[in-house]
Amino acid sequence: MSSEQTLVVQSVLFGNDAHEIVRAAQAVANSVKWARSRGLIGEWKLLLGDCSPTPVLNVLHMDEIASTVGAEGGQFELHSFGANLGSAAGHNALASKEFSELILILNPDAIAGPGTLSVLACALDDGVGIAEARQIPLEHPKDFVAYSGDTSWASTACALTTRAAFDAVGGFDSDTFFLYCDDVDYSWRLRLAGYRVVYEPAARVFHDKRLTQTGDWPASGAEVYYSAEAALFMAHKYSRPEIVTRLLAQFRSEGSTSVLKAVAAFERKRKLGTLPTPLDAEHKVGQFIGDNYAVHRF
């Protein structure tokens, strides 16, 4: 991929620190600057969708972002959604606002490296539907093929996808996924549609995750709930009824509030008949390895 393409960078906000959003915008504008200087990106826009009950950004913040983006030849728009749409629906809503050949899905507080957009843009070749940046300081452990970068799924903490691929699979499945696994599902549907999903370690993004003093990564109740709920939906959607049965039994046995809430959400959808239509009956793309959706390196 060598010709200039149009780009939308989009992030969904919910109760973030305004300064983090401004800093993330400055970082991504710098990354776009270098991609533009290499002739990879032409016109571009930063779209922020705010799902917070009270606006994250005030006028001064917005002016600062607009100025930063404008200095690099871009435009900035803020959309207030007035409700917590979640990640999948929020990104679908933003993607519907503007046409561009490329869409960078970015966590609102993620700091993109200077070369990140250039590397990701160059990766969208040879049938690649989405290219994921490497997160630091905590790298995602999923495995990828050396040199080609092919991987099971792409995290949308920072990932570049083509509009063609996005439209071909109808974007994110916001009917099923609220916060987690919308990116796993999007990746797997891209692969079912014949696209490649690649991990680009040279594209780096700082995602502010932290460890405890003993090196553990504690999960909040909300994280447990949304992960458990998404695990049930993923197993159902990718034709693994035996995993659904096992997870339901496991969650009921565990009995914590978070996982029981996930079981209830799944059962409610099952009764209403609103679970997604199962895909990948031959298990060509879906990987359920332990609690993971890919082989992990560590």
Binding site: Q26, A27, A29, N30, W34, I111, G113, P114, G115, V119, C122, A123, I136, P137, L138, E139, P141, A146, Y147, S148, G149, V198, E200, P201, A202, R204, F206, D208, R210, L211, T212, Q213, T214, G215, R297, F298
Partner: protein, 375 residues
Amino acid sequence: MLSTGSEQLKVQLGADGLTSSSDHNVHTSTIDTLLGELMSGPHLDPDLRYALDSVRGLISAEDRDAPFLTVLLRTQGKRPEPLKDALLCLAAQTDQDFEIIVIDHDADLEGAEVVRNAIAEQPIWMADRISRLEVRGGNRAKPLNAGIHAATGRYVAVFDDDDLLFANWVEAFRTASQRSSGRMLRALAANQAVTPELWPQDQIGFRTISWPKADYPREFDQIAHLGMNYSPFMSWAFPSTLFRKFGFEFDEELTVCEDWDMILRGSLLLGVENVDVLTAIYRKWKGGQSSYTDHSRDSWAWSEAKVVQRINDSVLIMPGGFAPFIRHAMTLRGAHEQLGALLQSRAWRYSRPVRGALRVAGYTKRRIRRLLRRT
């Protein structure tokens, strides 16, 4: 140890029924405590009191307009991708009150260009705070000394070009500095294994192959550090007083262990404030070049011996709370000697057949383990 050691002391000695009386020394640096004690004499010569007070004032004075931290980023430009990671970690700090001095040490033409480009592509708000030094020749300490002479921050930290920082690295140091009264700051680091690998667009990259492991001791132990270094370089922030007022420099004769040497000498003079937050990842290279492969075993042994010799040749100030620690260590040494005598005794030798039988049952093994554990 100092403040932290005192806390550890209470735990360790508590089990032995001893107590620590060092709490009054917890919140000042060791040298400050020493000056305070010298000045506390009721019949101290007024001129000497005035002189000591002046010294105290000189040590504690700091430039409030200076940035909180100077980050010395040492590189040879041989690892472009980790260097870019390192700069991004700094760009993402929640506390941005720092300057960065990138020290190009003996980079070849290609490496120097890598370093220049990595700086040039930073956003303006980062690039404005980065300066670059070129240092030619010398060992690993030479670029550090060039860096401390150029530093303007109230603290100095060393961050090598292949390690990672969490977003709160600077913030955690600053928070701790507000209670540390001039002591050195020691945060927590994890280590993570990586191995060289060519990346999809032909970059010379690496593959991360382990989860970060928090293997280093959570609390600083001065005595343990006399034996070896348990604290990666980037887990420290050194008060600039150490360099600007006391004139400390890294030992340029050392081929390696320059960090351990400074940690030992500095901690004995100033004391250490524990920062109980994991703020960094030390990358361990499996394959490829690192300081472990760049230097021979002899070089490591020589440097370690030199560090120990220098400490041995120095006058050491013992911080408050140290005496019970030494007494405790001597007690342990006594237990070791008793064990040695037991192993040499006639009764022990005569009982060998019996022990053989017991060994089969695993009894002796457990007993000895318990004995050794106690020592």
